[in-house]
């Protein structure tokens, strides 16, 4: 195996594009090294992207936030600007693993690992976040929901790297929230999860909303019907009933030792309702 530490994204994409055999990007390594240890992956090349300029930073501009692919989740939690603008994204990122893992793991890694139960992904999808994909000689920006195509699978081509996640600026009275169900109090894999992002008008009526569910389908689901159920409302009981029903209907979960199909469908609705209420309250506080 060869370990490479390129200093530019161009060099990194070239190395990956020209690699023969199994090539992997290394940022936090909290999935890659576990895979190597347990023999699931045998890399011929590892491209460590942490020394590439800008990838380790959170940049704030007029357009919003740019979170570099090598930014550990703990650093997101330490950014008060990011937390204020996107509390749901940050709380999701900070639910991943222990403190030791937090200091290394990244949201781009979480996304590219492509687990249906990834914690940060429903929050990013609800937030309408985008991924900046760098490839040999090109760069494109795609919606987060277009990155994963199935468990462990992404739409990235050979040589492509996600170099950053973009989160837009917030209109006033906007907020997001993320919740997951796990049988323990922490450090577990989501059985079901929900991210809700919304913007209110001055009277507290939901103007725009996005609702995303995790661990209930091969990829994270963006549930348009759930968003429609609460747009134009103040989250009254009727709207919340429709939100729950839309979420449960959208789920295509598996039955496994962590949760049955019936349980996951029901809990998806419950979590989406609770997350919507938290986001609503946060948006009203501004």
């Amino acid at each position: 195996m060869h370990y490479a530490r390129p200093s530019s994204i161009e060099e990194a994409t070239r190395l990956l594009a020209e690699a023969k055999g199994n090539a992997f990007v290394l940022a936090g390594g909290s999935d890659l090294l576990v895979g190597m240890k347990s023999g699931f992956v045998e890399p011929d090349l590892i491209v460590d992207i942490k020394t590439i300029g800008g990838l380790g930073e959170i940049e704030k501009s007029e357009e919003g936030f740019r979170i570099g692919a090598a930014v550990p989740c703990s650093v997101m939690g330490e950014s008060s600007d990011l937390k204020k603008a996107w509390p749901g994204v940050v709380e999701a990122a900070n639910l991943i693993g222990s403190k030791q893992v937090q200091g290394r793991c990244t949201i781009v890694g979480n996304l590219c690992n492509a687990s249906p139960a990834a914690d940060s992904v429903p929050a990013l999808v609800a937030a309408g976040a985008k991924a900046v994909v760098a490839g040999p000689g090109n760069r494109r920006t795609i919606a987060i929901e277009d990155v994963t195509t199935g468990p462990g699978k992404t739409s990235l081509g050979k040589g492509e790297i996600i170099e950053a996640v973009l989160l837009g600026n917030r209109p006033a009275r906007s907020a997001d929230a993320y919740l997951r169900f796990i049988p323990r109090t922490e450090m577990d894999i989501a059985v079901v999860s929900a991210g809700v992002n919304l913007t209110l008008d001055g009277a507290g009526v939901v103007q725009t909303a996005r609702v995303a569910l995790g661990a209930v389908a091969p990829t994270v689901l963006l549930v348009a019907g759930a968003a429609e159920a609460i747009i134009g409302t103040k989250l009254d009981d009727e709207a919340l009933d429709k939100l729950r029903a839309a979420c449960s209907a959208a789920c295509r979960p598996i039955d496994d030792k962590r949760g049955t199909v019936h349980f996951r469908k029901k809990v998806a609705g419950v979590l989406a309702e609770r997350a919507a209420k938290i986001a609503y309250e946060r948006a009203g506080e501004e």
Partner: protein, 158 residues
Amino acid sequence: MSSVAVTTTINGDEVEFLCQSEETLLDVLRDRLGMTGTKEGCGTGDCGACSVIVDDRLVCSCLVLGAEAEGSRIETIEGMASGDTLHPLQTKFLEHAALQCGVCTPGFLLAAKDLLEKNPDPTEEEIRFGLAGNLCRCTGYDKIVRAVQDAASEMKGA
């Protein structure tokens, strides 16, 4: 197989080593540098026994490649005491009998040190959450939590 030459700082000393590119920092510390204070539990980042501090971040050294240590600043359990003087956390772990078999202890001590550096006056809940990445199968955790609380109050007074 290709070797990587790495220059890093461990407990304040500049250290150079050669390692295989797939070798973890944990294996480098233990097998190449003879620093066996850092323990291997699970080897997959779940138990925290191999915790070290790299550039002021608590990490599992089993989830870091040795090659990644280039240019970084590493703190291990071997650097926690100053000569014969134990760190207050080490003293309090002894006083409270916050260890039995001892395999988890170096990881707990570094995790607790990192916690108190960032939050010198943690609540019991913050201590329990802060140390949740470290597993102990002997003590039942209560003695560890008491030791950290006691060390925190002593260090504040110091």
